[in-house]
């Protein structure tokens, strides 16, 4: 009888210890908790879109002038761009105009004055180029990098939803296009011949 009680008690203790030593968490729930907390990246991005986007476009530098200055004096001109942390990239909000030369799966190729070519992104709009080019979004205001990066994702989504359709629907070879958008310059490679701009505003001429 004693043996049965001992075995029973041992089993109960074992089960209690076992239950308390295992902590099963759903990865999706952990991820959601890590990603959001009380922070709403969508609201932050929407605030930028509605309140600050116009200012960013107004403050954008002329792309042709920027490229000329970079060709003449790369270091001092690149130093005027936005920089986040320790990075080889400098970010600018730029504006310009040109003629559409070609359309590919992820880009619209535009010829600027002096024959320079740039690409306006319609696909592969990822990463922090837009967020970093916009001077109003400060890393110091965020609890952690997760929040700071979520804002990038949301702004990229807004670009994809609101700006890219204009390019996809109306871009045709030979048409004139005016644009404003975010540009990153690699100060290590110093390449200026395959620049890709994430568009923030697009204006394409009506069909003649």
């Amino acid at each position: 009888m004693n043996k049965v009680i001992k075995c029973g008690l041992t089993t109960v203790v074992f089960v209690i210890v076992l239950i308390n030593s295992i902590n099963i968490k759903d990865l999706d729930k952990v991820r959601t908790k890590k990603e959001s907390g009380n922070f709403e990246a969508g609201a932050c991005a929407q605030n930028f879109w509605e309140q600050q986007r116009t200012v960013s476009i107004e403050e954008a530098v002329n792309l042709s002038q920027l490229l000329t200055r970079l060709e003449q004096s790369f270091d001092s001109t690149a130093a005027r761009g936005q920089q986040v942390g320790i990075s080889d990239y400098r970010y600018f909000m730029v504006q310009g105009s040109g003629t559409i030369e070609g359309i590919s799966e992820d880009d619209v190729v535009v010829v600027l004055d002096k024959g320079r070519k740039i690409r306006l992104a319609t696909g592969f709009i990822f990463g922090n180029t837009m967020r970093n080019a916009v001077s109003q979004i400060d890393i110091g205001e965020f609890m952690n990098m997760t929040q700071f990066n979520e804002v990038s994702i949301q702004i990229n989504n807004l670009v994809q939803e609101n700006i890219v359709p204009i390019l996809e629907e109306r871009a045709e070879t030979g048409r004139s296009v005016s644009f404003a958008g975010a540009l990153s310059i690699d100060v290590e490679t110093r390449q200026l011949d395959s620049l890709r701009i994430i568009p923030l505003q697009i204006d394409i001429e009506e069909e003649k």
Binding site: R31, I86, F126, G140, S152
Partner: protein
């Protein structure tokens, strides 16, 4: 008798209090999440080396990926009157209390590589920009798989922000391509052996996967080992993160067609450690104007540019 007691107490207080002599060096503690991973060994030793180079006595503490162990280290560090702590945290939330405890004791903490979820507990946090690095990896992944196929993801420690920043960066790209389907997502704790076991079980359930995205290179090597054992090393493309030497070598071998580690994100542990030690030194010498959060670029390493990183 009363005078004698006071004299004795006074003597004890004087002898117990910190009285730096001319020969006594200021001290920096280097607290590392784990020394069971070569990447963190480089981080720890680089930080300690830089501290010593600047005239500090430096001691490395191994937290063994255990927040309780890290807390013990902090208690010892505070009791031993260290001047600054260079911390690679074990947990973004769990480590905050340790850093605040040190702050209350007047010892500044500087985080390296991993961050804590606090704006002001640490003086500064120098961290790899894991999100951006994994956006680059995600873009390369999409192109390598021609925008369609099935894949698995091996996550790191679920309590570490880097785990989720890497995963989030990768998914911010890959999830936009509906023909790319994730069939398994499991944590392997940044550990090579666990990654091998997890990959073995994933391959049993999904033998036809096209790619495996791993949150660090140790897991990439573990996944690759499992693929080799299953005879699938040429079929499944593996993507890592860190820039570890064995993965760089595997990418070189892949470039000549004998393997399948496709890419990694190159982090710079020596640069992170050196910057953090320099910031700590500047702060101790009166510079209060140090940025709180400093991300460092991660570079994409593929067959095309691997020679630059050998």
């Amino acid at each position: 008798m009363e005078h004698l007691t006071f004299a004795l107490i006074g003597f004890l207080l004087v002898s117990c209090s910190k009285q730096p002599t001319e020969n006594e060096k200021p001290k920096m503690a280097v607290v590392i999440s784990t020394l069971n991973n070569p990447w963190f060994v480089v981080l720890a030793e680089s930080a300690a080396e830089k501290a010593r180079e600047m005239g500090y006595e430096a001691t490395i503490f191994d937290s063994q990926n255990n927040s309780a162990k890290e807390a013990e280290h902090f208690e010892n560090i505070i009791a031993s009157d260290y001047d600054a702590i260079l911390l690679n945290p074990t947990d973004a939330d769990g480590s905050v209390v340790n850093v605040e405890m040190a702050k209350d004791a007047g010892i500044p903490t500087f985080c390296m590589d991993r961050e804590i979820n606090s704006k002001d507990a640490a003086v500064s946090q120098v961290i790899s920009d894991s999100f951006s690095g994994c956006v680059k990896l995600g873009e390369y992944f999409v192109r390598e798989l021609n925008r369609s196929g099935t894949y698995a993801e091996l996550l790191g420690l679920v309590g570490d922000n880097n785990t989720w920043n890497r995963s989030m960066g990768f998914h911010s790209v890959v999830d936009k391509f509906p023909d790319l389907e994730m069939v398994a997502q499991q944590s392997a704790d940044f550990d090579r052996n666990k990654a091998m076991e997890v990959t073995e079980s994933i391959l049993q359930a999904h033998p036809e996967i096209d790619g495996i995205f791993c949150g660090n290179d140790a897991m990439a090597m573990g996944a690759y080992q499992a693929l080799v054992a299953a005879g699938k090393a040429d079929q499944v493309k593996v993507f890592g993160f860190d820039g570890a030497t064995d993965v760089i070598n595997a990418i070189v071998i892949n470039a000549i067609g004998e393997g399948n580690i496709a890419a990694t994100g190159m982090q710079f542990p020596k640069m992170i450690a050196t910057k953090v030690a320099e910031f700590a030194d500047q702060y101790l010498n009166g510079n209060q104007d140090i940025d709180n959060k400093i991300p460092i670029d991660v570079e994409l390493v593929t067959q095309k540019n691997v020679e630059e990183y050998k």
